[in-house]
């Protein structure tokens, strides 16, 4: 249980931290740059678009990464615990 607790907490905190930082940075740059967001970057794409798309990519990458990390670090612990619990007849019930 301790292993599962530590792993899930670490992964969740990392996920929240990465995305909070990424979104906050994008948000702050939006506020600071404001009028300059209209500056063209390439092919009609503005700086604002780039600032909007970057955190979305970080978000999607971290979503996939978080799931993979959970699958490799947390799910085996859950399986072990469930196997142990099933020996004692523990099962899910509706509350």
């Amino acid at each position: 249980m301790e292993r599962l607790r530590t792993a899930s907490r670490r992964l969740r905190r990392r996920f929240v931290m990465v995305n909070t930082l990424s979104l906050s940075a994008s948000f702050l740059l939006d506020v600071v740059l404001d009028e300059k967001l209209a500056t063209g970057v390439a092919g009609g794409i503005t700086l604002g678009m780039v600032l909007l798309v970057c955190p979305v990519f970080v978000l999607l990458a971290s979503v996939v990464r978080y799931d993979l990390a959970c699958a490799s670090q947390c799910d085996p612990c859950v399986d072990e615990l469930r196997d142990a619990a099933s020996d004692f007849g523990a099962r899910g019930v509706w509350r």
Partner: protein, 535 residues
């Protein structure tokens, strides 16, 4: 307001109308079939599809349930009229689903399908169950009324029914379908409906996007430039937080609504029920992951449609038809048909109709679950009749809530009630999210803190919303001719959220921690982390 017939884009009027009516009939007959199949269902089956949904079967419904009709019509108009701000809002809605993704596994592991049940996993007691039921009603009732009103207006608009009471009649018809769906279909019925809605929406939006981008020779820069020209907003179009004005209050308002959408839109009680239908914790997590990826694609398509509306229809036409831009989607689809045929218009109309129907059915089911399970069976301890009696009570609750919502929606037609949706999302972000996060992850969270948080947060949200410019002191307010407004922001989340968090923290400090003596924390943690009932 200029109106469009459903077949406005085509010469053959019968075909698009036929397509639209066909979808309505199919939806109704499907509902009857599911109802007959579910005639002898039990509580777990009716409310949560017996916790049997695999990743494949739960992904589309999860994405579908997340899209309400207001969340469909508003972003397109916001991007068309607001430019960059509208795109930021679309991105914030993606973040809302990501918040649900992080919470999906522990939420499913609690084994509860109502908000009251989830909150009770850390702080047991009847009062906690009841507080969950109160919040569920506070969120779902306003949202259902707004969805029904908007859906009635949209249907009358699409069918070109401009006579007195036409929108109200459409609202009643949609309401009847909603009641039938939720009462007979249960979770299995809403699952298929939500999946169909997601597929239809993506097909309609993808088709429209291809046509738009093709018109600009697949040059995104040209589309952006045309949207900028068409909006008529000048440099504000590319600027940040100008949607509600250039003043500090206006900019703060935009930041508040972004925050509210980003953290609250995934925390609706209907979404919590959707999570509970997954087979186990990891299935819920993976379904949510796929839903996030799919919804991001959909949000991207929404932005393209918004840009297309600005570029092809033009900001002036959009604002003249509806100052909020909520009719942008229909105006765009009609413009794209270009007098050739109304297939795209029909497809989008059907998608909007199914979105409305699926959204209100999900919300109604969530309310009926909380009334039957949390209030009737648990809080009043009337579980003697067993599962069948509880399901019967749930069906009566669907009927009562549905009729009340339809009556309210009909009475409030013509009033400025979009603030009800703002209020509902504000409660979801300021009350439900903190309560759920504290319940799942904070060991020291106590029953007193939970009750302070729920009732204090609810009171705070209600007082602030009633004192905001959405209710009085503004030409677009509910009571435009009165002025008792003192809170300057339309969107209250930026103030309500810190207040609620503080109330929960203080309440937990003040309250006595009984669960530490009984070992309740260890059991709760085992359940939340691994889905185990005992360790």
């Amino acid at each position: 307001m200029e109106r469009f017939a459903l077949a406005a884009g085509g010469e053959d009027l019968a075909s698009p109308v036929f397509g639209f009516l066909l979808v309505i009939c199919c939806a109704f007959f499907f509902c009857l079939i599911v109802g007959v199949r579910n005639a002898d269902d039990q509580t777990g089956d009716f409310f949560a599809a017996n916790r049997s949904l695999s990743v494949g079967r739960n992904t589309l419904p999860m994405a579908g349930d997340y899209i309400l009709v207001t969340a469909l019509l508003v972003p397109v108009g916001s991007v068309a009229l607001g430019g960059y701000d509208g795109m930021v809002m679309a991105m914030c809605s993606v973040v809302g689903l990501v918040v649900l993704y992080v919470l999906a596994e522990p939420l499913r592991n609690t084994g509860r399908f109502t908000l009251g049940g989830v909150l009770e996993s850390r702080a047991p007691g009847r009062a906690v169950r009841l507080s969950g039921a109160v919040v569920t009603l506070a969120v779902c009732a306003p949202l259902t009324v707004v969805q029904l009103t908007v859906a009635g207006d949209a249907t009358a608009y699409l069918l070109d029914l401009s006579g007195a009471g036409a929108a109200q009649v459409c609202t009643v018809m949609i309401g009847l379908l909603m009641i039938t769906f939720a009462a007979f279909g249960g979770m299995r019925g809403t699952t298929v409906l939500a999946a169909g809605k997601a597929v239809l929406l993506v097909a309609a939006f993808a088709g429209a996007s291809v046509i738009i981008v093709n018109r600009f020779d697949w040059d995104l820069g040209a589309l952006l430039a045309a949207a900028f020209e068409g909006s008529g907003r000048g440099e504000d179009y590319h600027g940040f937080a100008h949607l509600f004005g250039d003043s500090t209050t206006g900019r703060l308002d935009f930041i508040s609504v972004s925050l509210t959408v980003a953290i609250g839109s995934g925390m609706l009680p209907a979404m919590i029920m959707r999570i509970s239908a997954a087979r186990d914790g990891r299935t819920a997590r993976r379904s949510a992951r796929n839903a996030v990826l799919g919804y991001t694609l959909f949000a991207g398509l929404t932005i393209i449609l918004g840009l297309g509306a600005g570029a092809i229809v033009g900001g002036q036409t959009l604002a003249a038809d509806d100052p909020e831009g909520n009719s942008a989607l229909f105006l765009l689809s009609d413009a794209l048909a270009d007098g050739r045929d109304g297939a795209l218009f029909t497809l989008i109309s059907c998608a909007v109709f199914l979105t409305a129907l699926g959204g209100v059915s999900g919300l109604t089911l969530a309310v009926s679950a909380t009334l039957a399970h949390d209030v009737y069976a648990k809080a009043r301890r009337r579980h003697r009749g067993g599962d069948e009696r509880e399901v019967r009570v749930a069906r009566w609750a669907v009927l009562a809530f549905g009729v009340a919502s339809v009556v309210l929606a009909v009475l409030l037609h013509g009033w400025s009630i979009l603030f009800l949706a703002t209020y509902a999302i504000a409660v979801a972000s300021s009350v439900i999210l903190p309560a759920v996060v504290y319940s799942l992850f904070w060991k020291r969270f106590h029953r007193t803190g939970l009750l302070w948080m729920v009732y204090g947060g609810l009171a705070c949200c209600t007082v602030l919303q009633l004192s905001s410019p959405t209710v009085s002191g503004d030409p677009t307010a509910l009571f435009a001719d009165q002025d008792f407004q003192w809170f300057p922001l339309r969107h209250i989340g930026i103030v309500a959220l810190p207040v609620t968090l503080l109330l929960g923290w203080i309440g937990s400090r003040v309250g006595r921690r009984a669960s530490a003596e009984t070992g309740g924390d260890a059991k709760a943690e085992a359940r939340i982390l691994a889905g185990l009932d005992t360790v």
